[in-house]
Symmetry: C2
Subunit: 462 residues, 2 copies
């Protein structure tokens, strides 16, 4: 029986081969569109649909691409030639919240912000905080081991997942991990699934580890500097004292200029925010917890000692305005052209060198590359901006060349080519350089242990 007929028979109304559905899955938020065409999109209604699709895919050796909201930046959920795109966005229920154990059981399609809204009345929150949280799904966060602003203090996704229900390539349903805080029975296969970008199995349910909401008032500070070097020194001075701000965000001169232009055009955030006109760097410090007030006082002293011009938010609304200034970076960059959002990470101490490298690479390739960095954890997002005259729908070679230089610079500093976005399709060509031949081969043997026929998201991640 042809595959499509078999799919129809197995999962009936969940299958679509409509042009608009197949068109949509040719891309994600990364800016690249594949010329390939998937076979069908299956909007899974539950675990049984996922199992049926994988059994059929195994029987027919058809590739399966798991997909959530499609907000990835590396092409990991893009539908490839002849693949069944398994759309999990409709499996979007919060199945249970346990305040005593600080856990929640959710389906993979729950939108990250919707989860936050469901948890809030219970006084609980889930730490992963990707910029896409208003539109991304928990399953996507798990697939990429998503990070965000709060990782230096609260960890990445892997540290906030206890257990997973996973459908394997052959359709078997397994429980990996355990809802307990501690468990060393067998290998940590749940941890291995996290960040594996849909290449090892399909997550159909997750038990998440939560934290209590701390109601102590937060304090938000912002400082501008003459140079990014000064700002990086200030950031280093803050972490060196033992402070762990919830967020410590650094933007360079190019970012300041872009946001300043946005503000001048009337598109800036509401509220009283410092001018970024002509400034060399912007550093945001967000303190929470019982020591927020004392930490902020220490931070102000250190920021000023490093040459910073400090704004201390008088109240939560003013703090929100400072955070909004940081969040306006992406709209600001989008005014300059099409940003290719990169995602390197280096040991925190190497941040100043990495900022210098970005500046040099931007100059060499003649492209603006404004940078926003999670300074607390050493993760930088250089935005390689493709100016309108070079934008032809795809990503031009000069942007790839700049991106490659960024990866090499990060790796030379002991860093990595992706901190939190994933390898997907777009970074796969640098994977062997980053991992080395032996580790890549080992990873592929592990992949084969899960997926001997290679039907799960082939051509991605590994």
């Amino acid at each position: 029986m042809p595959i499509l007929d078999a799919l129809q028979q197995e999962v009936g109304p969940a299958v679509s081969t409509a042009d608009e559905d197949l068109e949509k899955v040719r891309t994600d938020r990364g800016g690249w569109t594949t010329p390939e065409r998937a076979l069908a999109v299956v909007r899974a209604r539950g675990i049984d649909d996922v199992r049926a699709v994988l059994r059929l895919a195994t029987a027919t050796r058809t590739p399966v691409v798991p997909r959530g909201a499609g907000t990835g930046l590396a092409g990991g959920a893009i539908g490839t030639e002849g693949a069944i795109v398994l759309d999990l966005a409709g499996m979007d229920r919060v199945l249970g919240i346990d305040a005593a154990d600080e856990t929640a059981v959710v389906q993979p399609g729950v939108v990250t912000d919707d989860l936050a809204r469901a948890l809030e009345p219970h006084g609980l929150w889930w730490p992963p905080d990707p910029a896409s949280r208003a539109i991304s799904t928990v399953g996507g966060n798990i697939a990429t081991n998503a990070g965000g602003l709060l990782c230096a203090k609260y960890g990445v996704t892997r540290q906030s997942v206890r257990a997973l229900k996973v459908v394997l390539a052959d359709g078997a349903l397994v429980d990996l991990g355990r809802p307990t805080v501690k468990d060393v029975t067998g290998y940590d296969l749940a941890g291995l699934m996290i960040g594996s970008e849909g290449t090892l199995g399909v997550v159909v349910e997750a038990t998440l580890g939560l934290r209590r909401i701390d109601r102590a008032p937060t304090v938000t500070l912002a400082a501008t500097f003459d140079s990014v070097r000064e700002a990086a020194a200030a950031s280093a001075a803050i972490t060196a004292t033992g402070l762990r701000p919830a967020a410590l965000e650094l933007m360079d001169a190019a970012s300041c200029a872009a946001i300043d232009a946005l503000v001048a055009a009337g598109g800036g955030p509401e509220g009283d925010v410092p001018s970024l006109s002509g400034r060399g760097a912007f550093l945001l410090v967000h303190c929470d917890g019982a020591s927020a007030e004392a930490d902020a006082t220490t931070a102000v002293r250190l920021l000023e000692a490093a040459g910073g011009d400090v704004t201390r938010a008088a109240d939560p609304a003013a703090g929100e305005a400072l955070l909004a200034l940081r969040r306006s970076a992406h709209p600001a960059f989008a005014r300059l052209g099409e940003p290719l959002i990169e995602d390197v990470a280096v040991p925190r101490s190497r941040l100043p060198e990495m900022f210098e490298a970005v500046e040099e690479i931007a100059a060499r390739h003649g492209l603006p590359i404004p940078v926003i960095a999670h300074a607390g954890d050493g993760n930088l997002h250089p935005n390689v901006v493709i100016p309108p005259h070079l934008a032809t729908g795809g990503i031009p070679d000069v942007a790839w060349a700049a991106a490659e230089d960024l990866f090499r610079a990060a790796m030379d500093l002991g860093g990595t080519l992706t901190g939190e976005h994933g390898v997907g399709i777009l970074k796969r060509r640098w994977l062997e350089d980053a991992l080395g031949e032996d580790v890549l081969a080992l990873g592929r043997r592990v992949k084969a242990a899960f997926d001997p026929l290679g039907i799960l998201n082939p051509g991605k991640a590994i």
Copy 2:
């Protein structure tokens, strides 16, 4: 060439076949001694020795058992028949400490407490806190994903390791993980190594993630209760308010009686400590960080409301005495007989049920089973005490029967058969029950991806 001759040729003076060395590796701290006999012990002097041994082992299909200080409790490092025991205790150097990045690079043989002493002058500490920390090695902590008292607040070993240098079964040396806080390049193979009990590779160097020492004064509280149910309710009330004490330790009536007997015999801790005579439970609460004082005040109120008789340490020395009372549990149990230290974990909310189950199992088998529990994370250590008249050098059937009932009770409550000690040899017979056939098979395929000949610590963990 016979293997021993080849070993001599490759690693010369590192090899021992002395009876006393082979005798020593027949056991660990778990109380069980194998009747089997290893081929040789190799005291590795560096990475080259490890690689040479593994190349030779691969060529001759000889089993290799990695071993640190031999302080494990599940037999994971016991030398099996004809195996080369690869003793890493001599690779005990701290290679570097980076305060700016809060990382340290160490060899696997560093004793956990020695690491703490090396880090202290830099204002840094490493969270894993196993009871064996004075004698266990960092490599052993990594092999078992060691926990301890501080996990509910500071995480288990896996959360405090960034990168590993690993020698694979064929002698290849690979770098897994990255010193950065964030990294999603390739699968999390470093995380997979942690807790794999020497069955996937040999860790020869580790980059550890550290924390800053918080100099704020700590506050230690202890409360005794009429019943363990009251104490468990008090513990639940504390965590339900959002407090995260650094340690929250619960002991049952049998533990109180054993410690009381130790104190009466003059073997108790120095300092002023509450009497445990006739008490139903003891709960220790250790608060640290900026909010320690406020947290302790809240905790006192909750402890008293739950029926607790509270002692608040007036100063650090008095706090140390209360902690020492908790730590005297093991010497106290040893006076009753030979303890088989079990290690189940359940979701925190199921602690009261698990305590009840232990009491019932102890009565049914006619053995004392005092329990100490890390109440903050749901990890219980029931000590199945083998009375002198049953102790014949090994572990009698009645103790195994009681242990099996403990595992089943924990699993029935959504828990696990080992929270932090590992599976080793001793718990392997229950592994399929705990994981299910599919997950066990998957784990074994992963094992084969790393170690296709099955020479790494065969018969252990998986």
